[in-house]
Symmetry: C2
Subunit: 687 residues, 2 copies
């Protein structure tokens, strides 16, 4: 028999842990399923608060000495302990439910076989109100407690949340629903099945209810989670009782080996379908309504078709006020990071322009000045390179939250991959719907992006809005409207946001592809005379706006001067090297691929336009971004005169196959949609 | 080894069978996978048309005599034969592809182990144009051929369709895609798995491609089909090569036993995503665009989330012109029935009102007059009784298409369950989305309903639009607008449609529940003096509108007179009895349940309103519609004065448990939302 679950309930003062625990104790099914741990506290037995076993400090210390506690901690001048006898309950397959402290979570995880932390929480205004009404503690103590809320729980522990800012009965309902949804640990059996969607199989004996399980694997210093539709095996042929079968890809994503214990939970059905219905009907939702709705969305309680219907409505009607409400609601739901810094800077680009790798210049300038900038970026999805792909030519980018924090401590900044750090179920569904269907999700994205920046602890954010015929923002008017929405929504979140509309009509810099873009960046940081001036100027502009926020700089003009100095002095380059070292320098940087093919001008003429998307397409054909060395090097500029047979771009790849594929793509493209358009009047005059 | 598939390609002249077969023959993968049957025809070898083996009529007859043919048929004065040697190809596991005639389908199904019919078709205007351009046949011959198109293929055969009204290359692409998607017959292995959504498992060796299989089982005189997402087993543990595992519910729905051969086909990915995108973006689609889009929707090529997004847009913006285009596009896609009748009548109600079982009166009146009315109706979904539930208290309602036709031959009409007869993937998804989310799908429903009526061969349709605060049409304006849309859309389909806005503010008749409603119906048909006059009047109104269409009646006033006569003379009752006999009379009719509970007036007063939904809720609580005898009998009318403790409604059930459940529901309801509202001024005056 597998040992049972240890469920530790934590939460700040005012969150109502005691109320929820009392409610669960009074609930027959909960009382039957869980052993409620009784705490030992060095507080007189008659004092208000929870029912506990009272011991003197001396007796407590002696009991601790004799191994009488599973774990102990101190808080508010008292000692707390959970008796070691609870281990016997677990060993017999029983589940223990205990009121605890977030301070002991990491240690407790080492002492019990299967720890589940239930974090009881509520909106800060609700917490403050409840604590104030209590009068047991001084104002200082209250503030101290609330500050402690920011301590992140260890990412290695399986944590679930209960929001308790409604009535006590609502809170108890939600808590009981969560507790009864917890399954006993199940033994992982990877199935030799390839599925389109994740799938798990449990035996009918282990089935709790509902169509969806959240499964968590605590393994190799991580806790990975998945939501998976459940298939119930009615005989033991597929999966015997006590086991959970998981399709091959899901098992791989969880990263746990066959035989590992998985912690599973039935996802309860949605309660807030009326709110979804209201929005689909075209009505606006309030912040409180978004908060209730988004909690259930994030918990995976809705069908994908329902989310699709909701998101279509959200792309059609989302007022400025709703964008702000949604941003605040989502920020409140996210796991929040806090930095011990007066200013934490971030940057975002909507869409982006091929070659415009300014993040790799802005971050070093800002870090060189001394501001904290824990930047996380995406990999390429449809483009030739994302910032994370480019950075990966030099350093590790797959950082954990703890590693991001360590980088900021040692180098003031990082440039990490965001894939692991702030994943959103909702954005996954949104992308799966909006991308193939080409829906305009820009206003939705404002709430999504800024709520993530807020949750990541940023205080100041610059946003790059490239505007041009092939970008997500084809008109100046649309771009400026979105810029204002970004700035207003930032204010609603308590963020300083500066959104700049930039030229998205042509590539920026010369290289398109991870290593080629980094080559351009290093030329600028290294102060080389032949560096791409458009890329340098754009990076300096964004850095200036950031620096201008700092009281010692104070103005954009001064910010510009400081940014130039940091570039010219080599301080930015030095900061970049420090960031690379902090993240983990690659033994050898990835350089532009040495298999090249030059595309020649078909006729004399003036370069009239460059199609950034066609150029990115060539780079992808040559292997970018998977081949970090692949890409396209632009050998001419818009407005420049070129002669027939003059090389106008060079395709790079790390293999002859990539080079050949790039060459074929270039030949096909020349017929249909040339990446570089050379003026045709000269062509007409030619013989 | 299982024998291979026999794929018979049929289709009307002008559909382009030869072009598609030639295209497939030229396609390397098709040529490798299929044995192309060469036909023997009694036509000189040099004549135009397909390459064939030519034989004299005498040689042909002799060869037929000697068993040299798998099957033969005559057409256009010639004999056609497929050589019997094709059986050896099948026995060796090979797949045969042959150009055939729909006339031999039923017989061929008995002679080959696994028949798949591919019906090549095109819009009628395209067919006519192609045939006219050919000049090989006289105009009369062309018309004869086109008329033959209406012959339905036997429902016992697995039939697939290829639409060939684009370019020849597009047609060949679609045909080749379908052929290559066909799997070899797979052995059914029901899996002991309960899933939320259907699921099948095939071995990696049998996997064609794509995420969805359409599986068909030909068994017990039926061909049942399902679309199921595929899971691929990478070892033989779950499902060995050559087998197909199917979740328990899907296997049950298919109705085939373990070990049966299933015909499976990979559903190809969508090609028309741009059209979906266009509609989601709020643009209108043309009829041609709807035709292309709906073909793929019906084929199951889109994700459910994509359909959800599309349907939300469709509920938000669907112009009158689009409703008509959509109706025509959907009618063209459906399997069409044709009746050898100048008038075929149908009736539909949107939403419906508790107790308003007029169909059971209208159909007999119309049949007594002599018009054909093959009526199919739904069972209750959220109400206490559907027309099919009510009819089921007297007769079988689960009729096949052939049984519907036989009823019309012998009794001029039927009242059958529509569940098996006109099922729509699209409407399933629409209902799954709109019902829980409360979306207004009325305009969409106009296209859906009328296209089904058209495909079922109706020429004249009456539509009942109950209007009232708790119906789908809360305002008169909305109801009249929808009525006009019904009538205009009918015209676009070549249907006569009359849509009547009726009073949906209160129940009609006295009984609510299958057997109680039938009791009301029989009282009217039997000419009993105490029959419910509101129900009789409403039924007579709809019958009058139908009869008025007939040239011998000609006016609504005359129609009304004829309807009354048919009721008064007992002719309608006689027609009803004939319909019951034709469908299959129940040995004993189901009567209203004998376990009853009477609800008494709480005070003296006037009945001000009846809440039809609350009354239906009581009937459901008592067991309706599963218990056909359960329901509520109304013992008072709106406007009537009642005395305290006077019975105002009676709950019926077929068991004491049902009666008790109904009683409990009535007691709870009285506190919150009384089903029958008795004026409160008297209550206030009471001591």
């Amino acid at each position: 028999m597998r040992p049972g679950l240890f469920v530790l309930v934590v939460g700040p003062s005012g969150a109502g842990k005691d109320t929820l625990l009392d409610g669960a104790r009074a609930h027959a099914a909960c009382a039957q399923r869980f052993h409620f741990a009784r705490r030992v506290i060095t507080r007189p037995a008659g004092s208000p608060g929870e029912d506990h076993d009272s011991q003197s400090e001396a007796d407590f210390a002696q009991r601790e000495e004799q191994g009488g506690f599973l774990i102990t901690w101190r808080a508010h001048g008292l000692s707390y302990g959970l008796p070691s006898a609870l281990r016997d309950v677990l060993d017999a397959g029983g589940h223990v439910l205990a009121n605890g402290s977030r301070a002991v979570v990491a240690e407790l995880a080492r002492r019990v076989p299967h720890l589940v932390v239930v974090e009881v929480t509520a909106a800060s205004e609700v917490l403050a109100q409840r604590i104030a009404g209590r009068g047991r503690e001084s104002r200082e103590q209250v503030l101290q407690r609330l500050a402690r809320k920011a301590d992140a729980l260890p990412s290695t522990v399986h944590t679930l949340r209960v929001y308790n800012d409604g009535t006590p009965a609502e809170g108890v309902d939600a808590f009981v629903e969560l507790l009864l949804g917890l399954c006993a640990p199940l033994t992982l059996r990877p199935l030799a099945l390839l599925t389109q969607e994740p799938l798990c199989v449990v035996h009918a004996d282990d089935f709790v209810e509902g169509g969806m399980l959240e499964v968590a694997a605590v393994h190799a210093g991580r806790c990975e989670r998945l939501r998976v539709p459940v298939v119930v095996g009615t005989d033991g042929q597929w999966v015997p009782p006590g086991h959970i079968g998981l399709d091959a890809r899901s098992a791989e994503r969880l990263g746990a080996p066959a035989g590992a214990a998985l912690l599973a939970r039935s996802v309860a059905p949605a309660r807030e379908r009326d709110l979804l219905r209201k929005k689909i009907g075209g009505e606006a939702l309030t912040e409180g309504e978004y908060r209730r709705l988004m909690r259930e969305v994030v918990d995976g309680r809705f069908e994908r078709t329902e989310l699709a219907a909701f998101l279509v409505s959200a792309t059609q009607s989302l007022s400025d006020g709703e964008v702000q409400s949604l941003a605040r609601a989502r920020a409140a739901l996210a796991q929040t990071l806090s930095w011990d810094e007066p200013m934490v800077v971030d940057k975002h680009a909507i869409g982006g322009v091929p070659g415009s790798r300014i993040t790799l210049i802005v971050v070093p300038i800002v870090a060189a000045f001394g501001l904290a900038m824990p930047k996380t970026s995406s990999r390429a999805i449809t483009s030739a390179a994302g910032t994370a792909d480019a950075m990966e030519t030099l350093a590790r980018v797959d950082l954990t939250a703890a590693e991001v924090a360590a980088c900021v401590r040692s180098a003031r900044a990082c440039i990490a991959w965001n894939g692991r750090l702030n994943h959103s179920v909702l954005d996954d569904v949104m992308n799966a719907i909006t991308r193939p269907l080409g829906l305009d999700s820009a206003r939705w994205a404002v709430a999504s992006i800024l709520s993530k920046k807020k949750a990541a602890g940023a205080t100041h954010v610059v946003v790059d809005l490239p505007c041009g015929p092939r970008t997500k923002l084809p008109t100046e008017a649309a771009a400026h409207e979105l810029a204002h929405l970004f700035e207003r929504t930032g204010r609603a979140l308590g963020l300083e946001v500066r959104a700049l509309v930039t030229d998205g009509s042509r590539p920026i810099g010369r290289g398109v592809g991870p290593a080629l873009e980094v080559r351009d960046v290093l030329a600028i940081l290294g102060g080389r005379a032949d560096a791409a001036q458009d890329l340098r100027a754009k990076a300096a502009l964004f850095a200036s706006h950031i620096l201008a926020w700092h009281p010692e700089v104070g103005s954009l003009a001064e910010g510009h001067k400081v940014a130039q100095d940091l570039l010219d002095s080599g301080a930015a380059l030095q900061a970049f090297e420090a960031i690379i070292d902090a993240q983990g320098r690659r033994a050898e940087p990835v350089l532009p691929g040495s298999w090249t093919h030059e595309v020649l001008a078909s006729h004399d003429g003036r370069v009239e336009a460059m199609d950034g998307w066609a150029i990115a397409g060539l780079a992808r054909a040559a292997g970018a971004p998977t081949d970090l060395g692949a890409g396209v090097d632009l050998l001419c500029e818009v407005g420049q005169r070129v002669a027939r047979d003059q090389p106008i771009l060079r395709i790079h790849a790390s293999s002859p196959q990539g080079r050949d594929a790039g060459q074929r793509a270039a030949e096909q493209m020349a017929l249909a949609n040339p990446a570089i358009l050379i003026g045709s009047e000269e062509e007409c005059l030619a013989p």
